[in-house]
Symmetry: C2
Subunit: 133 residues, 2 copies
């Protein structure tokens, strides 16, 4: 999708004024789940040189949140599943708001090294770019 | 992802020389499943004015294949699940090959009327544009 057109299609992203609103939004996490499975599958396909469809597990997603320093913003008793939801919500918010493209996301996901580090790098990049307190 | 760059990232799409190769490729269907759940969720989100994540059922996908006149190309005893796989494979092939964008796909999915008709229209459009025998 052409980045410039995104905001027109999804005006609801304007309602998020605080980072915590994004991280704790279950609906956003639900859309983010579909998004993240797609970009992760694209990344695996690019590396393998053949199409692959696979889901990312909650553990990887919650670890990435912690490593990006974002987990500390959530209430202390937030469980792993909700931490993974927060990663999904921030990932799709980054895309919907035009802060990051699918191409850049796939490009970072396919970098050598640890998958958790790569997702964490994406989260930090989105955080820098969306400028939401 | 910028359309022009797609072919570079996924050179494996060049190996499909016949439509039947695409329709019966399980790996392509697996990546297509992630893709279709994402674009369908985007379409629902656009219409609802809030983020939604949902999966498309096999029945809808297999009906769309039939309505687009493509089901007849598959062996007669192909079951519903494999018909749905064929829809998923063709949808993602259309995107990977640059025949259709996420934006155009979402725009057709959100047209008023029957969802099966809308998916069928997308399949026919891809078929026209990819020019694979």
């Amino acid at each position: 999708m052409a980045e410039g057109d995104l905001r027109e299609h999804f005006p609801f992203i304007k309602k998020y004024s605080r980072l915590l609103d994004i991280l704790s939004d279950k609906d956003l996490a639900s859309l983010g789940d579909a998004y993240i499975n797609f970009v992760y599958s694209l990344a695996l396909s690019k590396v393998a040189g053949k199409p692959i469809g696979r889901k990312l597990d909650s553990n990887t997603l919650s670890l990435a949140l912690k490593r990006a320093g974002i987990r500390a913003l959530l209430p202390q008793r937030t469980d792993k599943h909700k931490q993974a939801d927060a990663t999904e919500a921030l990932m799709i918010f980054g895309w919907l708001s035009g802060a990051i493209s699918i191409e850049e996301t796939v490009s970072i996901l396919t970098k050598e090294g640890d998958l958790v580090d790569n997702i964490s790098a994406i989260l930090k990049l989105i955080l820098e770019r969306i400028k939401i307190p």
